[in-house]
């Protein structure tokens, strides 16, 4: 996909992606410019400032903790992590009882224009980046930051079954900051909703049918690429031959022309099959995306809740060996938990309660724990419809702990889990060297009700400080 990123060049990625977005591209850096390489060679005076964070308890990643640790941040990147890291003299230093990676809401509505959010005309290639509303809802983003959420996956087009691609967004106070878009195509999102089970089953088949046609398109494109290469090789060979025996060939041809004239026949030029250049299949942006999903280059996020559609999907998934499905919602999934685990499916659970039956099934607070126990990888998301719900996600995650999920798994579902599932783990999701400094400085345990966020860092910048409130 156009979003494929190199681990050490998030800026390049963000800038490159914005180049595709006319409105925001004005200030974009040339994506081909190797900015980081240049910085390394730059004079020390131009090096980004250092920031040292002293953490009484550092949660490197869920289950990996260091006491009395130091995190050294250079510019936007984590440069060193450990208990015995030396802080260079004169470095700005911040202390915090607990430090962990910023939370990720894998299923949010933050940052998007309301009209686009419920658009019904989106297609697979519609990008949520184009639905960004960079000026609105700043108070909701502020509330999300206060709750420790630094990254969201937001999705437009919820009124249709195929939503388009999701944007992974960092909650900079100014969303027009080009570093805000971490990935403009984090996944392709679809839904299977409705009150009629047969309709829903039919929709699963239709959506999978689209993936099939995407795969076929990709196959055709690849065949074309191969044919073209072969043709070009052949042409080159012939040209070479022609060059070598030009005189003989010309003589032969002249002779043939003369003979034809003698016999009063028209001379027919011999036609080679190599004259036929392979025809390119028509470019189709939708099929490009669907093909990438079918090939597993891009995850597929599918919202569904009830058993008939889950079973239909699970039955047909083996046909799509490379697809990386992430199922969102999955209210009734406890009945198929073992099958989901066997299929290696990742789920996004909204850890709240919903009504019984209907299109949404019945979500229970034990859902996350039940699925985790069955071996399903669980992520958390706030449901993708209400932009204000993101701020409550960490509290809801804590409630999932009250209903059986281990605190480690809950933290994983808020940090490294979604980062991995959305191919962002090279940049965010844990406090490790080389990753972006998207960090929370907390007064206490991340899942405690009384813990206050003291500072939030995104790309090494303090975007929220409790004392500034």
């Amino acid at each position: 996909m156009r979003s494929i990123a190199t681990p050490l060049a998030p800026l390049v990625v963000a800038a490159g992606l914005f180049a595709a977005t006319p409105v925001l591209s004005a200030s974009a850096v040339d994506p081909l410019e190797p900015t980081f390489a240049q910085e390394e060679e730059a004079a020390p005076a131009e090096e980004p400032a250092l920031l040292a964070i002293r953490a009484a308890r550092l949660i490197v990643a869920p289950g990996r903790e260091i006491e009395n640790a130091i995190v050294l941040v250079r510019g936007d990147v984590i440069q060193a992590v450990g208990a015995d890291v030396a802080i260079p003299e004169g470095t700005e230093t911040v202390d915090a009882p607990v430090v962990c990676a910023g939370f990720v809401d894998a299923w949010s509505a933050l940052g998007l224009d309301r009209g686009s959010l419920f658009d019904r005309s989106t297609r697979p290639s519609t990008s949520s980046v184009d639905g960004l509303e960079v000026y609105g809802d700043d108070y909701l983003r502020d509330a999300a930051l206060q709750a420790g959420v630094t990254t969201v996956r937001s999705q437009i087009g919820l009124a249709g079954n195929v939503h388009g691609t999701s944007v992974a967004l960092r909650l900079f106070p100014d969303l027009s900051d080009e570093r805000a878009v971490l990935d403009p195509d984090a996944a392709l999102a679809m839904q299977v909703l409705g009150n009629d089970a047969l309709d829903r089953i039919g929709n699963v088949d239709r959506l999978l049918g689209q993936l099939e046609s995407g795969a076929a398109y990709l196959k055709a494109q690849r065949k074309y690429a191969a044919d073209l290469a072969e043709w070009e090789k052949k042409i080159a060979e012939l040209e070479e031959e022609l060059e070598k025996d030009f005189k003989k060939k010309k003589k032969d041809r002249d002779k043939e022309v003369a003979e034809a004239e003698e016999e009063g026949k028209e001379y027919k030029e011999e036609r080679y099959k190599e004259d036929k250049k392979p025809r390119a299949p028509r470019f189709d942006a939708d099929s490009e995306v669907l093909g990438a999903v079918a090939e597993g280059e891009l995850p597929l996020i599918l919202e569904l809740h009830r058993i008939p559609e889950m079973r239909t999907l699970l039955r047909r998934l083996p046909e799509f060996g490379r697809v990386r499905p992430i199922l969102a919602g999955v209210s009734d999934a406890r009945f198929v938990a073992d099958e989901l685990a066997a299929a290696g499916v990742v789920v996004i659970v909204n850890p709240t309660t919903q009504g019984e039956g209907g299109a949404f099934g019945s979500n229970h607070l034990e859902l996350a724990a039940d699925l985790d126990e069955a071996g399903v990888e669980v992520l958390f998301g706030s449901g993708g419809r209400d932009a204000s719900a993101t701020a409550a996600l960490p509290l809801l995650a804590a409630r999932a702990v009250a209903h059986g999920l281990s605190p480690e798994k809950a933290l994983y579902a808020l940090t490294l889990g979604p980062a991995r599932a959305l191919d962002l783990a090279d940049r965010i999701g844990s406090v490790e060297v080389g990753k972006q400094a998207d960090l929370l400085l907390l007064s206490g345990d991340p899942l405690s009700a009384t813990t206050r966020v003291q500072h939030v860092l995104i790309a090494g910048e303090k975007v929220l400080s409790a004392d500034a409130r």
Binding site: A147, T353, A391, A392, L395, R399, V401, A402, S448, T450
Partner: protein, 427 residues
Amino acid sequence: MLSTILAVTLATAACATPFTGESSIDASTAQGPLATHDARVATVQLTTGDCSSDFGVSTDIGGSWTPDGRVPESGSALATDGVEAAPAQLLAIVADQLHLPDGATVKDGVLVVRDGVIVAAGEVDVPEGARVVRHDGHVTAGLVAPYSAGYLPSDESNENTRPFLPDGRVVYGFDPELPRLADALEQGVTTIVLPPAVSQVVGGRTGVVKTYGGHVVSRGAHLALSMGSQAANVTRAPTSYGGMVRALDGLFTEPQGAYAEVASGNLGLMTYVSERHEVDRALRLFARHGLKGALVGPSLAGELAERIAESGCSVVLPTPDLVPNERERDAMVALFEAKVAFGFWLNDPSRYRSSAITALRAGATRDDALNSITSTAAKIARVGTSVGQLARGFDADFVLWSGDPLEFTTTVEAVYVRGELAFGGDQ
């Protein structure tokens, strides 16, 4: 059954409540769901809530009820009385953290229970012969909800035809087998107030019931008013706020009956108001007639916190969002600062404890937050002398938590109602 009636009458007579006559109704209709329990239940229901000025027999004795309904002489708290029935079983809970009424938390605290009543709580010895339950976590009183929505059969909460029904009793609509009661119990809620429909200006008497065992704590704790827009109706009078206030002004000057009981303080008052102007209207009505009670439902009540504090009213807030918006949070903080007694609605039981945690996060003290769903809630429900606290004489309703009850991550491990394991636990 005759002896039951006698006991009931004896107990209530001492309280001089106007409901003595109803005891026979209750006992003689002993085929309904309310009467599936023993005589003790009938005794309890008539001896607590209706005599709010005094402790009922269920609350201030160390003894037990006997099968013949006789209330034994109070003696040594732990003495058995030589009754022919099975000897009173002592239950002792040893908790890592025991929450006592004054906000103190006792490490390795002991709660001693006999016959459904707490006989000792705090740093006391485990009595000999007691069945001991050790709990490696916190123990609090069972949660009390001063106002519940949706805990009656659905048609009970839609009454729209009779706007004034002062002598109606919601408790007659109580269905102890309603599945939602079990949901509430599983979240640690042991006592709830059943209110009448908000579409009635005067809906009658609230009932206070337990979520387990069909126990009725009070058959008429408050007179319930609704001064919300729902009570003004186009199909019958009153059709406006003006008509509603005029009617109430007339009724509260009546020399006898429910309204006079409220005015004299013998009967509680619970008033549903959701908008700020409705709170204002209610406070003016109360001031004219010298009334006070619980204001139920105004999420922005805090913006009138000073006036509410002056009126002596308490407030029952609707379930706040996990992350309330700034205005709601400011309103809550104003209530805390004005020292207004507050509690929360119960609708989604899984969110009930969250309300107290939200209050804590907004700036309430730990005590106020926990009390808002226990002792303060019980006082608002006018059963504050029998439930909501771990103290001698109170009903043995308590919750065994996996940790701090004011953390989202904490789980309910067991719930006891009147000393009986009602949910969870291993025993």
